[in-house]
Point group: none
Chain length 204, copies 4
Amino acid sequence: MSYRSSEKTRRKKDSKRTAMMQAAVQVFAEKGYHAATVRDIVGAADVAIGTFYFYFPDKETLFVYLYEETADFLLQTIQQAVAGKQTLPQQVKAGVQAYINLAVYEPAVVNLLLVGGIGAVPSLAEKRLEFRRQLTRLWQRLLDAAVADDAIPAQDTRHSAEFIAGGCDEIILGLLEVPNPEPFVQNAADDLTTLVLRAVGMPD
Amino acid sequence: MSYRSSEKTRRKKDSKRTAMMQAAVQVFAEKGYHAATVRDIVGAADVAIGTFYFYFPDKETLFVYLYEETADFLLQTIQQAVAGKQTLPQQVKAGVQAYINLAVYEPAVVNLLLVGGIGAVPSLAEKRLEFRRQLTRLWQRLLDAAVADDAIPAQDTRHSAEFIAGGCDEIILGLLEVPNPEPFVQNAADDLTTLVLRAVGMPD
Amino acid sequence: MSYRSSEKTRRKKDSKRTAMMQAAVQVFAEKGYHAATVRDIVGAADVAIGTFYFYFPDKETLFVYLYEETADFLLQTIQQAVAGKQTLPQQVKAGVQAYINLAVYEPAVVNLLLVGGIGAVPSLAEKRLEFRRQLTRLWQRLLDAAVADDAIPAQDTRHSAEFIAGGCDEIILGLLEVPNPEPFVQNAADDLTTLVLRAVGMPD
Amino acid sequence: MSYRSSEKTRRKKDSKRTAMMQAAVQVFAEKGYHAATVRDIVGAADVAIGTFYFYFPDKETLFVYLYEETADFLLQTIQQAVAGKQTLPQQVKAGVQAYINLAVYEPAVVNLLLVGGIGAVPSLAEKRLEFRRQLTRLWQRLLDAAVADDAIPAQDTRHSAEFIAGGCDEIILGLLEVPNPEPFVQNAADDLTTLVLRAVGMPD
DNA sequence: CATGAATGAGGGTTCATTCAT
DNA sequence: AATGAATGAACCCTCATTCAT
């Protein structure tokens, strides 16, 4: 996964492993868990099928692992963007910006998390649930703090956080539908920030 | 699908067809496109597997058809709820209420639309896109009218509509996760209405 | 299995099922459990591979079933041959004769039981053990009765029975090695009878 | 194989080769030819998989070689035990004793010869045949000499020898089924000796 | 000598689809 | 109309074997 490309671990031995994981993220993101075959993945990585099973125990384990890792990465990316900011407007702006940047730069990350492999893989449904829960909680923490500071009115911050999370996803998915979204990124980020802040009752 | 109970396909001769379609919605919604087998569907409908292929050309066609029909039904349900209302707050309240009611009473409808077989079924990606577009447009029309009436400030109503659509979905999915969501419905509807109205800049 | 050919159940519907079971006995007997592939079996039965899984849950289940059925059949065949006889010499003669006849007429039955699928299939090792135990017990019962009648001297009848069972198998396997064993059958049966009777101390 | 501990293959350089052969006997004996994987063997010998193919051309060749060597060892062990004895009773007693001792001390030797990969390995069927033939011939030679000395009555010594060989195997396998067979060894040896001598018509 | 990453044929099994009854 | 036995392509995965280091 190129978003991990900053890691120093670049041992030759793992080049195939890395290639397969990158390929797997793409293939899973594009087709979803079921439609993606192991042959698709090894084909994209240009290795033999046996190589897959040398590095990974099976398709499901890899998918779950990739899903978790991708989810963590996305959550941390947003979290870090938000971390240094003091006020809710700054936090929202930074978080939204980070999310959009990630989606535009690594669309597979977002697609993997949303296209999903829901159904039939029991361990997956709960992983997805867990991811949504964590994403929601991230927003919720910010809102709770803002409520405590009287920056925004009292409200059911869980609902608000869910609303924000879902709204962001939808706008971002819309953004990814156009071939070259870069020109629209800033606009989307600004609009999204405004929408979020208004939704939670932040005075202009 | 109980929401189709008044259609013409109710002729006795088509009872098996209807049974299979109802079963298919449930099975697809529960397992997703790939994990749902034709045998699951005919098993749930209590007919033979050959019967499936007498009424439907194949699994994919049925799924796409069901997806379209379900999407139309959801859109019309919301549209009708909104239709008689004059002001944006009334419209939002009615639309949100209708959406939530539908989700709680017919969770399979929502699940079918969201669980998806994206990627898996090539022709489905665009169907899904089309559904989201229509759902967004539905909100967008209301917002555009409100902007024209100076009820809410000028804004990119497409972005706003996407935000609303995504936010609604997320809250509704959260609602469906609990076993007996009925007690929480009113609360969710109220919160959702508030969030939507605030997000688009409607003064309290 | 042709040794069940006397059954009246000859429904057309089960012709493929029967063909596969017959083929399976042959293939398993010839190659053993592991080397026999499902494709071998369906090839021998001239049906498609999917047909196998329409009738049987999986390869292992079929093998265990066939093994049990074959073992029961062999045990009952010997048991019945022995049943009407009063004296030990008559019983031994009849039992040995029956066993040899079966082996010559249905070599696959014997081969299936002896070539086996030992190793790796846990449920199989005990099945084989159980079969040997039952075969031994069959002889042991005869010997115990003979000891009680003072027809033969007191002895560890379990050891004697094991000795007999193993000795019979070896002679029979030797018999099956020649292409046309029929001419040697009578001789083998006589020798075997003498050996068994002598071994247990039956006076000439 | 501990029974090979005094051979020339003991040179330091071949320690890995030896380790693999010892491991292979155990693994093959325990799982049978097919279920035993090359990885099982190298794992048990604690060497890399490539090392296997440096010393042995392939799995099948090793198995056949091990089978032959094991068969020879067993035959020689019995042969040597019998060699110094003059009378049939002494010979039988010594041979049976040697066989049982070997089975109890080196169960893998016996299991390897009996668990088999019959059918699975084409070249093995004849190896097994050859082993049984030699084992039978060993007994047959003793019987022929005894017949010539009028120690036992004239008989088809081939049949008698087969009977003995099979009978021994069965009792020995029965012995190996119990976890700690040592206490039963003497009893089994005595019974077996008696059974063999009686079977061939040796007067008490 | 020794290693273990890499290969791919092949095995068990599933499931959409067909067709004779 | 309706059935369900039959089909076979395709899936996931294993494992004997090779070869660059």
